[in-house]
């Protein structure tokens, strides 16, 4: 089987350059590529465009990159919970494009399925529709939205094998699958990296063909944004 194993986050992200566009998996702090973010912060690449549903919190997730002023533009659906983000946005240091969450998911999926664009009703009648093509099907209006393709996608899975097959846990799947499909180079960090044959082919969420580099991550903090418990 084709072997995509990389030794470390540093190696896996080594060719990411200033100005690159990165698709980054996760929802809130759930399922984010902690090791790659750490390596990107260490590497210090700048002027990045990050396509990610959220922007992390002040001192975790993409928030760490924002703190280092590595991000020029965020494309997200929701960017609350981040004071440094707010400061950079208000000061004009950071450019932000907000798009509906489903549109974000579909635009990534479209890239992974070779579809140049998709139709969605989300945003019809709102400022999201400004300047976009609207088309009516069966009495309902839809926006035409373009596929998101990106040189790099960075995702985080629970288990993976060296052939690049990925399995996610619980709701950490979120955008990781669709972003993995949309990267020209997809980098996957996993909590547990195994040999081909150890994962059940029937349970794989992302087939290895969509993954170009995989490495075993370490020291996952998995910070919880809003721990809520019942008595």
């Amino acid at each position: 089987m084709i072997n995509k194993k990389f030794a470390s986050a540093e190696e896996a992200i080594a060719d990411i350059q200033d100005g690159d566009t990165l698709l980054m998996g996760g929802f809130g702090l759930c399922g984010i590529p902690e090791n790659c973010i750490e390596a990107l912060v260490k590497k210090g690449v700048k002027n990045l465009t990050c396509i990610s549903n959220n922007a992390g919190v002040d001192n975790f997730g993409i928030g760490l990159m924002l703190h280092q002023k590595q991000v020029k533009k965020m494309i997200s659906s929701y960017v609350g919970e981040n004071a440094e983000f707010e400061r950079q946005l208000l000061s004009g240091e950071l450019d932000v494009e907000l798009i509906p969450q489903g549109t974000l998911a579909f635009r990534c999926m479209a890239a992974g399925y070779g579809m140049p664009a998709i139709f969605t009703p989300a945003g019809i009648g709102t400022e999201v529709a400004f300047g976009k093509e609207i088309r009516n099907f069966n009495g309902k209006d839809y926006l035409l939205e373009q596929a998101f393709e990106s040189n790099f996608a960075i995702v985080k899975a629970w288990k993976g094998d060296t052939a690049g097959n990925l399995i996610f846990k619980a709701t950490s799947r979120n955008f990781n699958t669709v972003m993995a499909m949309a990267g020209k180079i997809t980098i996957a960090e996993v909590e547990e990296l195994v040999e081909p044959g150890e994962l059940d082919p029937n349970q794989i969420h992302t087939p290895g063909v969509y993954v170009h580099r995989i490495f075993q991550g370490s020291h996952y903090e998995k910070r919880i944004e809003k721990k809520t418990i019942r008595e």
Binding site: F27, G28, S77, T103, A105, A122, N174, N176, K226, R230
Partner: protein
């Protein structure tokens, strides 16, 4: 006047047996606590879960299992996990029967604004634009007036819209109101002890009062 819990309790009565429901952040989340025993309902969380259960106990907490409000949660027996594309796929395919969400403003033709206040911080629409663009039935849970005392039920929204002609019903601390297909806020129920006149004064959009307006019942 109802408190938030009572608004949630009143909305819970709207939930049909055997239905799939998406709950927004805030008051809508509380609705789950008031589902009658004889009603079978399956909650969707748009970050990728059908069959959301209650909050976890301390020992059940799993950072990989959260809801769309980023709170730790649990799964019911029979739950299913999926990715964000399938999640919004089932929303757009109208497989979700009811969406309950908060709002900053609702207009008398069912437009809703709940994601942006120009000049102030913009947090983003998250999944709200997808939900309101496709849900078969949308109930808004909100306060009747804002902190400045201005009505949030308007002839036309003043804030940037989230979606158009989509809200079917509104439950506030004062009243239950439906939005008529031809437009207009039709008053259905008063909160206990709240007069029609109080509701009238708090409603800037066209309020339709037809006959006697009963008080809400909660059982």
């Amino acid at each position: 006047m109802l408190d938030k819990e009572a608004i949630a309790k009143r909305i819970a009565k709207e939930i049909q047996n055997n239905s799939y429901v998406n709950l927004g952040i805030g008051i809508p989340t509380l609705v789950a606590n008031y589902i009658p025993k004889n009603i079978e309902v399956c909650f969707q969380s748009e970050n990728g879960l059908l069959g959301m259960g209650p909050f976890p106990t301390e020992s059940e907490v799993d950072p990989d299992l959260i809801n769309a409000g980023k709170q730790t949660i649990t799964m019911m027996p029979g739950a299913a996990l999926f990715d964000s594309a399938m999640s919004f796929g089932m929303i757009h395919a109208q497989k979700i029967d009811l969406t309950i969400l908060g709002a900053m403003e609702v207009s008398e033709n069912g437009d809703i604004a709940n994601w942006k206040i120009p000049g102030k911080m913009v947090k983003g629409m998250g999944g709200a634009m997808d939900l309101v663009a496709s849900a078969k039935n949308i109930i808004v849970a909100m306060q009747h007036v804002n902190k400045s005392g201005e009505s949030k039920l308007l002839p036309k929204c003043t804030l940037p819209l989230t979606g158009i002609r989509c809200v079917k019903k509104i439950v506030t601390e004062l009243a239950v109101i439906s939005i008529l297909p031809q437009g207009g806020f039709k008053l259905l129920e008063r909160a206990p002890g709240v007069s029609v006149d109080t509701i009238k004064k708090a409603t800037l959009g066209k309020l339709i009062i037809d006959g006697d307006i009963p008080e809400m019942a909660f059982d």
